[in-house]
Subunit: 311 residues, 2 copies
DNA sequence: ACTTATCGTTCTATAATTGGAACAATGAGG
DNA sequence: CCTCATTGTTCCAATTATAGAACGATAAGT
């Protein structure tokens, strides 16, 4: 009974196929094919039902997967325990995050982490669509979300809450009829993140808890926050963005905040991990670093901002 | 990173030495020696301190042993879970069949199977369109078909051949011009299964092998055999249905068979499975049960029919 | 109704692992 | 002090697993 067979099997289940697993592990798929067959022969039961096109896990296969995955996690813990004792923080940490997070928050965090941990390799996957952490081999994901995340199989840690504000250029600000009433902002040209819905509107929350839905006219929609920011600076319209994304522009005066008493959302930023892998020292180190550094950056560390302003 | 190395290491720790472990496992000790060294190289730590006389576990080795033993225990649990399932008739069997088959044949078979196998869960998927067994996780499909099935990757077992007959109500039967000539039935209102083609016709086969194609006028088309049967009983027209579907109505006198010497098709009923290898006992039990019971029901078990008639 | 891309499996020369004997190191018993 | 049995390690022919191409099957794209 070869324990590695179980490992290969788990990889195939998680990656969703022989080829996918082979690519991910950088091994030929002929090996996987043979090893799984041997495992099935040993157990004298079919674990994967396969055609040339798709692979599905049988009832027994699911059962075996659950336990085997658990066993493998223990092995990783065993290895991690040894590495910890030998003070070797090394290995690869794969981090998933949104493009915006990459550009405006992790750009400050990751380089420092790499400096502090010279033997760690970081692979960053910036993407705006939430990927399957396990299938894509992601160790840590940093995501913003409005409501509580449903996925229960993931470990989640709250990092910070951020505020979204409305911004526009000073020049555009002058053209507003009234700059203190949400309703008055209706039907101004809007620069929106992502793909706009038919009837786009801003959901604003006032300082005293009151809410307002302001319909707007989509002038430009993009996945990229930088581009939106530039468009706003060129007076093309109003844009709702996370406060930390626009901080430097506001300080530099190229953007001004519209409706300073209202927010355009305050999502929770969470850190997600698949199961126990977080105990690997390199991942643990990344976790610690991020938990320690990210909230200050998202909140807009007051001291640092002031320092920059003084210079 | 070879997981088996960890297994060998644990054995050596538990048996107290390379030779003892080798004897216990019935493998040469040269293997153990090499594997432990490789494990130590991978972890870049010494796990066992060995002289030619005595073996002691290092501090890190003890730590690794604790976790690795734990992981191995999980693997045993995984294997045990599979063994249990392969030794017990239990688990879930997913059965795909046509709606008609579900209503008029499996309705008698499945309850008995469930009674006989109390630890088995059956999931029935009644659908008139052939689904992808593997993609949809179907263990067993029961299908009727005229010609040989093409799909080669599936295991197929012939269960029975059934006959389709023409039926109508006694009252409707009286209105027929001639009740013994296929040609004379042309253009009577027809109740047809499925979606009717532009030119619908019955393909009839006589007792002596002669064939006839009789065009007909579609009055009502439905996917549901029950509804068609009721419509026929209400004298709405002629209907072609499997004999076993209408047996009780014929015995009760609410339907009569038209052209008793002619059949309207005699499809093969087959049982399909994704693979023969590593069958779960529960599925095997279902197979056996179905092969044993279904042919009699489809053929219209004479004894049982008579018994029911006598009561 | 084609072509194309991708899937899992199979084939075979090649590379890695293995078993068993020989090995040096060690301590027990006389 | 000197066997001698037993320890873990090393060596090399024989076995076994492997990589990579070829393969048949299957969807999707055109």
């Amino acid at each position: 009974m070869d324990l590695n067979d179980a490992f290969y099997f788990v990889q195939i289940v998680e990656k969703g196929g022989f080829s996918a697993a082979a690519r991910s592990l950088n091994i030929p798929k002929s090996r996987l094919s043979r090893r799984v067959r041997r495992l099935e022969d040993d157990l004298s039961v079919r674990l994967l039902q396969r055609t040339s096109r798709i692979v599905t896990t049988t009832e027994v296969g699911k059962e075996y997967y659950r336990h085997a995955k658990d066993a493998l996690a223990r092995f990783e813990i065993a290895e991690a325990a040894v590495r910890r004792k030998t003070n070797t923080i090394e290995g690869t940490v794969t981090v998933s995050c949104s493009v915006g997070m990459a550009q405006f928050a992790l750009d400050q965090i990751l380089p420092r982490f790499l400096q502090d941990n010279p033997r760690v390799i970081v692979v960053q996957r910036a993407s705006n669509q939430m990927e399957d952490l396990i299938k894509d081999g992601v160790d840590v994901a940093i995501r913003g979300h409005m409501d509580t995340l449903p996925d229960s199989s993931l470990i989640q840690t709250r990092l910070a809450r951020v505020e979204w504000h409305l911004f526009c250029s000073p020049k555009f600000h002058d053209t507003l009829d009234q700059a203190d009433d949400p309703i008055a902002l209706a039907n101004y040209p809007a620069l929106v993140l992502g793909r706009p819905r038919a009837t786009h509107q801003w959901s604003l929350t006032g300082g005293d808890g009151q809410t307002a839905s302001v319909p707007c006219r989509v002038r430009f929609a993009s996945d990229d926050m930088s581009t939106l920011k530039n468009a706003a600076a060129l007076s093309l319209g109003l844009v709702a963005l996370p406060a930390y994304v626009c901080r430097s522009e506001v300080e530099a005066g190229s953007l001004v905040r519209v409706l300073p008493d209202w927010t355009a959302g305050h999502p929770q930023i969470s850190l997600l991990m698949p199961s126990r892998r977080g105990l690997l020292p390199a991942i643990e180190a990344f976790l610690h670093h991020t938990k320690h550094e990210l909230p200050a950056i998202l909140a807009g560390d007051a001291n640092q901002s002031k320092k920059e302003a003084q210079r």
